[in-house]
Amino acid sequence: MATTEHIRPVKPRRGFTGRPSPSPGRLSGRLPWMLLLPALLGLAFLVLPLAGLLIRAPWPTLPQRLAEPHVLEALRLSLVCATVATAACLLLGVPLAWLLARVEFPGRRLVRALVTVPLVLPPVVGGVALLLVLGRRGLIGQWLEATFGVTLPFTTAGVIVAEAFVAMPFLVISVEGALRGADRRFEEAAATLGASRWTVFRRVTLPMIAPGVVAGAVLCWARALGEFGATITFAGNFPGTTRTMPLAVYLALETEPEAAIVLSVVLLAVSVVILASLRDRWVSAS
């Protein structure tokens, strides 16, 4: 059966008529099950835990739990911190990706490997590492406090630092890939039109890699939103300043699993809505 089906699409111009396929069933018949089956299993694997949360969620008491000020407070803090962390990652990560993709320098391979360290490092370890550097007695933290009177741990800024640390590799890797895939001849064309290096980057390179940057930023934001280990270790946990949703979820789990489920569902719902709408807007704009 498969072999006879294979011959059909070769018929000339069939795809150019613009008419919907006369028998849509035939199309699905061509989908190779060797891909389809694992694909569906993969989807189930990713979606089922979410379904578990939704099934176990205490729906009757949900509205009342949601109205609790500490839930909204944690949600607001999560969204603000993840967004600011993403902005910071964009500011630092895009140039870093550019450096890795476009500038030959000794030890570039090593630097590229180092960039991925936060991915490999258990987040809690990342938090401790941040404390050792930016903590009150850390290498830089000490100086920050002495010079500016600034301490990062236990502040909202600390949450942002922790989230940015953990999330930045997602952005850098995505943007670097986009930069490597971009046709550099467009940059040459811009140079022949008198564009400085900076103008080339701003007006040609950046718009051309925009899809990669957006994808990286979305990953980065999602990772920051769910960040737990580095945040609680570096920034601590205090309502209103550093207790983001994942921290609230973890603490709720200690005493009241149902509340934890509610918080998780809220976090998921909000992030899915934001990511989906962002994606739609981005896709339709391009």
Binding site: R185, E188, T192, L193, G194, P207, M208
Partner: protein, 344 residues
């Protein structure tokens, strides 16, 4: 001369070294086979490929080779145009003026004017992917001209077009180049493009200049096999003694009187073929073996091996009459008046 350049680029297994002089308003075509170094030369002029220390470029008396690409008063039309996909046609053209410090409004005004000039005012808002090949080519030209360059560089400007569009765009491009008062260097491997568009041809092979001159000179006096093939001539190197030239073992009679090393050229259509030795014995006659037969326009091109290799163009009717098949021995002749000899 507005452009004087010695372009020297050294790469592993490739060396480019050529001198180039272009007068204001003159169009020079760099012609050569693939890998000859044409595009490398163009990139060196544009500042996109680094030259070795010996390289020099001066434009209107100003050293250019010390400037980066963005500092050179040049306009480049790239082979596949490289229009910025995220900008409209108008903004593509306005890009250069913007980089030169003009306001957005002023840049767009200049761009609109140029699009008008290339006949694309109505496509100003289109994105590159919405443009046809010919339109994209014209936008690319407008974009290059928008920076008011003193040197215009075109890399295979017509190569990406289909045959029909090519004809139209070629004549349009010729008009625009005629209007341009700076120096123009264009790169092509197509002799027709070169002949139509350029005032002067520079033929490059293996990174060096092998011949240059006006299209008419080059077409009449090819000096390499590559050029001879391009212009459709049989070309031989020989030693002349008066009107007799020895090409290898074969003596040929020519109409010119020359002494010493010469080239002899004649068109394939001047070669006549016979199954048996013709009567009246024309002066230039030799026995050849048919190497192959192929269509060539309305005629048939016959490849001849023998004391010299040659092409002969005959009519399909003649082919049928002669019943030529590869391996067959035939007599070939050329009238002395059809040959053309010139000093090597």
């Amino acid at each position: 001369m507005s452009l004087r350049a010695r372009l020297v680029v050294t790469r592993p297994a490739f060396e480019l070294d050529l001198t180039l002089e272009v007068a204001p308003g003159e169009v020079v075509a760099l012609l050569g086979p693939n890998g000859a170094g044409k595009t490398t030369a163009l990139r060196a002029l544009a500042g996109l490929t680094a030259m070795t220390a010996a390289g020099r470029i001066s434009l209107d008396g100003r050293a250019l080779h010390t400037l980066p690409a963005e500092g050179r008063p040049i306009g480049v039309v790239f082979q596949d145009y490289l229009l910025f996909p995220h900008l409209t046609a108008l903004d593509n053209v306005a890009f250069g003026p913007r980089c030169q410090g003009f306001s957005k409004t002023e840049s767009r005004r200049v761009a609109a004017e140029l699009l008008e000039r290339v006949g694309l005012a109505d496509r100003a808002a289109a994105r590159p992917r919405e443009l046809s090949g010919g339109q994209a080519q014209r936008v690319a030209l407008a974009r290059a001209l928008a920076v008011r360059p003193r040197l215009l560089l075109l890399d295979e400007p017509l190569a990406a077009l289909d045959a029909h569009t090519r004809l139209e765009i070629r004549s349009r491009l010729r008009r625009h180049l005629a209007d341009f008062d700076g120096a123009t260097v264009l790169v092509t491997h197509d002799p027709l493009d070169a002949m139509v568009l350029a005032d002067r041809l520079i033929v490059i092979e293996n990174g060096t200049v092998v011949q240059q001159g006006t299209p008419a000179e080059v077409a009449r006096h090819p000096r390499t096999d590559y050029v001879a093939r391009l212009v459709g001539l049989n070309l031989y190197r020989g030693v002349a003694d008066g009107t007799r030239v020895r090409v290898g073992e074969l003596p040929l009679s020519t109409s010119e009187r020359l002494d010493g090393a010469v080239f002899v050229a004649f068109p394939p259509a001047a070669v006549a073929l016979y199954r048996s030795r013709p009567d009246g014995s024309p002066r230039n006659l030799w026995q050849a073996v048919i190497g192959g037969v192929e269509r060539h326009g309305d005629n048939v091109r016959v490849h001849l091996d023998g004391p010299v290799t040659a092409f002969a163009d005959i009519t399909p009717a003649a082919l049928a009459d002669l019943d030529l098949t590869p391996g067959l021995r035939v007599w070939a002749s050329v009238k002395a008046t059809e040959t053309h000899a010139y000093p090597a």
